[in-house]
């Protein structure tokens, strides 16, 4: 059997919201493939279509035109819907909206329970997921009493207990404090590196987007940029045109370049920017 290299493939995928007065293509003929194990940042201004695209990836929405293929299975076929939702887990912006159980472990067990798995296996999966995320000590706690960052980690554990191949974070860090954000991102990065789980992070936080291997920008339902973060963010004018921003250190180098003090930017992190600045001040 051929190994599946692409976890998600979209072919001419279009999505139209039918309930609005003027039907608008929220996703407009997108063709895209995401490789197994990639870490992707999906960016775009409010209303650009990024959340719609993500929902097409886990068959919460079905395309109005074109196809979405997840692990070789077309989301249009009814029998594939549950398989796809199991394989592509989603964590949302507001952690309070995704809590169901009265204890953390119950909450994490909820997903596998719905898959019809044996009780003993459910418990094993929930404990392993909590352990992998590093929150096994919270197991008997009431979810609504946890901090925002802890709640989001419970969200990740719940998805993990379903044994997913891909995790989509839909602005999952936007309500977290700096430490909560950092810890959640570290957790997700570990899952990507150790378990080879594909990560798609939808975010407005540009420093966060720099942690990805690949940045995809969507505007008015179309993919307008797709590439390595350093390449994408060094095109500062284009990023601004899209209503987005670049990391502060990139902006500094861009301004130094504009004024003729440096020739290239090539930096999106503190360490890279440090190298560039040292080159000109030494």
């Amino acid at each position: 059997m051929r190994a599946i290299i692409n976890i998600i493939e979209a072919f001419d995928t279009t999505y139209i919201y039918q309930n609005s007065d003027i039907p608008k293509k929220a996703v407009d003929e997108v063709t895209l493939s995401i490789k197994n194990g990639e870490y992707i940042a999906l960016l775009g201004k409010n209303g650009s279509g990024k959340s719609t695209l993500a929902r097409l990836f886990n068959s919460l929405l079905l395309p109005s035109g074109g196809d979405v293929i997840v692990l070789g299975k077309n989301s249009k076929d009814d029998e594939n819907v549950w398989y796809i939702r199991k394989k592509v887990g989603m964590i949302f912006q507001n952690p309070d909206n995704q809590i169901i159980g009265t204890t953390v472990i119950e909450d994490v067990a909820f997903g596998p329970e719905n898959l019809g798995i044996k009780q003993e296996e459910i418990e094993n999966r929930a404990i392993k997921a909590l352990n992998d995320i590093g929150i096994l000590d919270l197991k008997e706690r009431a979810p609504h009493m946890l901090s925002g960052g802890q709640k989001q980690k419970v969200g990740v554990a719940s998805v993990l207990a379903m044994h997913p191949s891909c995790i989509i974070m839909d602005e999952s860090t936007s309500m977290l404090d700096p430490r909560g954000r950092e810890e959640l991102l570290r957790t997700v990065k570990q899952l990507n590196v150790k378990e080879k789980i594909t990560i798609i992070n939808i975010t407005h936080h540009m420093e966060e987007a720099c942690l990805a291997d690949r940045v995809i920008i969507i505007d008015e339902g179309k993919i307008v940029t797709d590439g390595k973060p350093v390449k994408v963010f060094n095109d500062v004018e284009k990023i601004e045109e899209m209503g987005l921003d670049v990391p502060q250190v990139t902006r500094l180098l861009y301004k130094l370049k504009e004024k003729g003090y440096i020739k290239r930017i090539d930096a999106i992190t503190v360490d890279e920017a440090f190298e560039r600045i040292i080159e000109i001040i030494e």
Binding site: M145, G149, E171, D177, L252
Partner: protein
């Protein structure tokens, strides 16, 4: 004798200019139950008229509890809060709420009228402002918040994220508060929406002499706009100072689950390598100026 009286007079003037005073304020949630949680622990501070103050702290540090005390939504268990010479535990809540406009997280979830115009008008009607005055104020506020006439006639649901947020804030500003409190105003907004919103707030701050209190997890936003920062932890104020003083304490901030702007991290690293370049840098423009002035040989 004369010296003493001058000092006395100065002290008196100073206390007169205080717009917000917290005296030893404590507050506990679910008192007397197993879920009891002390959220504010003997907090004292004051804010002058015309300050731009940021309050930072990790989740659960007490920031939201503190701001809910500003317009009497919560009242202190012990201690006293005076807003513009009015005790928040006493009568006159309506008056107080006109003075203190609080924009909570995701304020657009509270938009409910048929049109944006009616939504902005709602608070004015509640405060018995008559029609001609309402119209004038809405026009003025819409201009400030960059909401066009066409937009005012739309349903709030037809607006983009940034427009909705601005419409919701307009509903607060139209009451002409002296103090504008913003609780995580940029969560969920794209970068352009953030910039637009803060440019408007900053204009209001400088042109209308309004006092602004910003609660945010974005250290970059805080550094770009605030003048003073209060850091909270576990119901206590642990640092209170101007932007420079606070962001120089990067290690203490990190111990408390916070951070400093990315540009400050870069400049600290450069400063450790070459101490002729200052690390007291908190915005991109300051960094640019510092590096250029070094390159132009002005540091020798």
């Amino acid at each position: 004798m004369r010296l003493l009286s001058t000092r006395h007079l100065k002290g008196l003037l100073k206390s007169l200019s205080k717009l917000i005073e917290f005296h030893d304020v404590s507050y506990t949630y679910n008192k007397g139950t197993p879920l009891e949680k002390k959220a504010l622990n003997h907090v004292s501070f004051s804010v002058d008229k015309g300050e731009f103050l940021a309050i930072i702290g990790h989740t659960g540090s007490g920031k939201s509890t503190l701001i809910q005390h500003l317009n009497g939504l919560l009242k202190p268990d012990t201690g006293k809060i005076i807003i513009d010479s009015q005790d928040t535990s006493g009568k006159g809540l309506k008056q107080l709420r006109k003075k203190v406009g609080i924009v909570f997280q995701y304020p657009e979830h509270q938009l409910f009228e048929e049109t944006v115009y009616k939504d902005i008008e709602f608070g004015l009607i509640k405060h018995n402002i008559d029609e001609p005055e309402r119209k004038l104020r809405i026009q003025e506020t819409a201009r400030i918040m960059e909401l066009s006439d066409e937009l005012l006639q739309k349903s709030p649901y037809e607006l983009s994220g940034g427009q909705k947020r601005r419409a919701a804030i307009a509903g607060i500003l139209v009451l002409q508060p002296d103090i504008l409190v913003l609780d995580e105003p940029i969560a969920g907004l794209d970068p352009r929406g953030c910039n637009e919103l803060f440019n408007i707030v900053n204009n209001l701050y400088s042109s209308k002499n309004i006092t602004v209190i910003l609660v945010s997890h974005s250290m970059e936003t805080v550094a770009d706009y605030a003048k003073r920062i209060i850091v909270m932890d576990n119901g206590n104020i642990i640092i209170d100072g101007n932007v420079n003083e606070v962001f120089l304490k990067d290690e203490e901030l990190e111990r408390n689950g916070l951070s400093v702007p990315q540009i400050t991290k870069l400049m600290k690293k450069i400063n450790l390598k070459n101490d002729k370049i200052s690390r007291e840098i908190f915005t991109v423009d300051q960094a640019l100026e510092e590096i250029i002035s070094y390159l132009e040989g002005k540091h020798d």
